[in-house]
């Protein structure tokens, strides 16, 4: 295809340049993502109202079926569709390049739609109630695995379209110097995604063959070990992607420069090298695996990926603090954050995402990922408590935040209900924070995850959970419903804006395009000249560390009181 035939437009307000086919693909993937979020959200209503023991809405069979669908729609489909849109944005738009092979990218999208629909249909038929994890030998309809495989192949092709676009941008000199930090983060996500999908293929293809009878049996421990290379790693794509989104929002809202490109990029490199080891988190309470293997892998070698997240946790708000201080908000430690645009949902969403991911998701994740401490929470409802903090407050809220920026820029529509949008991140983020804390509380009291009835109705030797566990599940129910309202508001604003928003001037298409220039202010590299440039952020980081250390050792203390095990 001749380069001259490619059409571009430049958004007059942001200066971002969109390649027409890439723009269409981003929209298609983002819309598919939101549809999946809607499906998962409706199912979430059933989840919270059933686990809220006093309400106990649906029967056991339906509950487990809907739970399977909820996990897949949210963890796999909403997030990965959105991530493909993010990958195309970070390559073609941020590098002012044409997208590689748009037709193949459409084929990838078609495969993803086909696969996800096939998989969800198999679940709703009722013979594939195997949860997101589909642990063998629980049997599912072959369509279940085939759908997942097709979806994964589509996503894999999307990753290669992203990589191809990087190659084109380089070859056609659409930018000078190195790729931007945000693109670098997206590249991290894509590399992790390729590893993830390969792991998925290695285990899901034989499992599919087993489900149709070509293979006699699949070893459950083998399945778990390889499957988690897919299941956990797919959440690591999210981490890399939403950290990239944090940097993007800091850049868009504040014009923030990274404190040091070297530090931020090295942290992303640590993700590539070590984040994948964490699939061991799910295997710490398994038989058959050695202690050394567990300790090395669960700690990402020596917590090197945790180190990377702690670095991003400092440098993202740190870069905002620097940008704000340069604008004159220099009073005391915290004027920069008090005077931040808290009414801008892109910013507030990103900040709540960052704090929730760190304080709730991060600390609980490291606790759970400690070899011995894992025994205290393995398969309790603490686990979904943790990952709703990482994936819902962290990833989902970050994606919601960037959507508010994309509505006028990508979808060329003015956002409807801006007054409501202002509140959405608070409504969604804070209720999710309560939700996750209550789940973790219930898990600490031993309440199992993926469990229809903690009264054990019909069992001959039932166990009675303490009243506090009931209370926690009640809080999960109420906070969950509020969060769902927050999710509905988001979907309402997005869909409403796309359908009924006032069109905005988004720039005309032409075959001309500019080159992404290296910035002029070369002198301002690193902010070291100020000495201790982000003291406010540093204080917040120390508070975080204090909470982390305290919570970590409280759990060791608790562990020391339980039965001896050796």
């Amino acid at each position: 295809m001749a380069v001259s035939a490619d059409l571009f437009r430049t958004c007059p307000r942001t200066g971002l340049q969109f390649h027409k086919p890439s723009e269409m693909l981003m929209k298609a993937n983002a819309v598919a993502a939101v549809v999946m979020l809607l499906i998962g959200g409706v199912l979430a209503i059933i989840m919270v109202l059933t686990r809220w023991q006093a309400v106990h809405l649906v029967g056991a069979e339906d509950f487990y079926m809907y739970l399977t669908a909820h996990g897949l729609a949210m963890l796999a489909y909403w997030i990965i569709f959105f991530e493909i849109a993010v990958l195309y944005f970070c390559s073609s738009t941020l590098l002012k390049s044409r997208l590689a092979t748009p037709r193949i990218a459409w084929a990838a999208f078609a495969l993803m739609v086909l696969g996800s629909v096939m998989n969800l249909v198999a679940v709703f038929k009722g013979d594939s109630t195997v949860m997101f994890t589909s642990y063998v030998p629980l049997p599912a309809n072959p369509m279940f695995y085939l759908g997942l495989i097709l979806f994964a192949v589509g996503a894999l092709i999307g990753c290669f379209v992203f990589l191809g676009t990087l190659v084109i941008a380089k070859a056609e000199n659409t930018y000078e110097g190195s790729i931007p930090l945000v693109t670098f983060g997206a590249l991290t996500a894509a590399i992790i995604a390729i590893f993830t999908i390969a792991s998925g293929a290695i285990i899901l293809i034989p499992t599919f063959l087993w489900s149709v009878g070509y293979i006699k049996a699949i070893d459950p421990l083998l399945y778990r070990t390889v499957w988690w290379g897919f299941g956990h790693s797919s959440q690591q794509i999210n981490v890399a992607a939403h950290v990239a989104v944090w940097y993007a929002i800091a850049a868009i809202v504040f014009g923030a420069k990274p404190m040091s490109e070297r530090v931020s990029r090295t942290a992303f490199l640590l993700y590539i090298l070590f984040l994948q080891l964490a699939s061991a988190h799910h295997l710490l309470s398994d038989p058959g695996l050695g202690t050394e293997w567990k300790v090395f892998n669960t700690s990402y070698a020596m917590y090197l990926a945790v180190l990377a997240s702690m670095i991003h946790g400092l440098t993202v708000p740190g870069s905002i603090e620097l940008a704000q201080r340069q604008k004159g908000y220099t009073k005391g430690l915290f004027e920069w954050i008090r005077k931040a645009p808290w009414g801008n949902p892109s910013f507030s969403g990103m900040m709540i995402s960052l704090l929730g991911f760190g304080f709730l998701g991060g600390i609980s994740g490291v606790m759970m990922g400690t070899e011995q401490l894992n025994m205290l929470i393995h398969n309790t409802i603490y686990v979904p408590g943790h990952f709703h903090a990482t994936v819902v407050i962290g990833t989902t809220l970050a994606f919601m935040a960037i959507t508010y920026f994309l509505l006028p820029t990508l979808f060329k529509r003015e956002m409807i209900l801006p007054g409501l949008a202002k509140w959405q991140p608070y409504l969604f983020g804070l209720s999710m924070a309560v939700f996750t804390l209550a789940m973790m509380g219930a898990g600490t009291l031993g309440v199992p995850r993926r469990h229809w009835d903690i009264t054990f109705a019909g069992a001959s030797l039932p166990y009675e959970f303490p009243g506090a566990a009931w209370l926690m599940l009640g809080i999960v129910g109420v906070a969950g419903l509020v969060a769902i309202v927050g999710g509905i508001v988001y979907i309402l604003i997005v869909v409403g804006s796309i359908l009924f928003g006032k069109p905005v001037d988004a720039g005309a298409y032409s075959s001309e395009r500019g080159v992404l220039k290296m910035p002029v202010e070369v002198a301002l590299t690193g902010h070291g000249h100020a000495g201790f440039a982000a003291p406010g952020t540093f204080v917040v980081a120390l508070v975080f560390l204090g909470a982390f250390v305290l919570y970590y050792f409280v759990n060791w203390k608790y562990l020391s009181t339980v039965w001896g095990l050796s």
Binding site: Y64, V263, R265, L307, E371, T380, W563, G564, S566
Partner: protein, 181 residues
């Protein structure tokens, strides 16, 4: 300049870092090392470590061994299903079967004594969750996992299944007794 533009210096890995970053990286890395070494430390000095002793097994093999212990040490039965309550000698081997949707048999252990607890699943994957102690271990079919357990409080405990194992999952709960000498 900003994070969505190319870095000011092409050679970004030579860019200096701020003192805030340097100090934080040092603190964070120190903390990472502390957390890492806590795990081996606990293997040496702690009393709660998950055993790795594991054997391949089959439902028949395991059921035979479990039956032998039940035949020898059953002290009474409970419920209409006549689930045997087994009280093996202190220090001995005890077998616990996880299957759809029950734990079998019921164990009665002595406080302060150690037992070799053998776990396996007969069909699907199950989760051994001892309540209210909240000790949780994955149970896999085909694998016999041997834990050495030392109860430190007497009383009546529950074993809940916390790995989804089908429609009757929520009924899969049993008892475990710890008695004073």
């Amino acid at each position: 300049m900003s994070a969505i533009q190319p870095p000011a210096q092409r050679i970004w890995w030579k860019q200096p870092l701020d003192k805030v970053e340097l100090v934080w990286i040092l603190i964070a890395f120190t903390w990472c090392l502390v957390m890492f070494f806590m795990m081996p430390y606990w293997h040496v000095y702690g009393k709660q470590n998950l055993a790795t002793e594991t054997y391949r097994t089959t439902p028949d093999m395991f059921a035979k061994k479990a039956q032998a212990v039940v035949d020898k040490y059953t002290v009474r039965t409970e419920t209409d299903e006549k689930i045997p309550v087994v009280r093996p000698p202190a220090g001995g081997d005890v077998y616990l079967i996880a299957r759809l949707w029950a734990w079998w048999p019921i164990l009665e252990l002595e406080k302060g004594k150690s037992y070799r607890l053998h776990l396996t699943a007969m069909d699907y994957q199950h989760g051994f969750s001892l309540q209210p102690e909240n000790i949780n271990v994955q149970v896999l079919p085909g694998y016999e996992h041997v834990l050495t357990v030392t109860p430190n409080r007497s009383g009546s405990y529950a074993i809940v299944c916390n790995e989804f194992c089908g429609i009757g999952h929520h009924k899969m709960v049993s008892k475990l007794y710890v008695v004073d000498k």
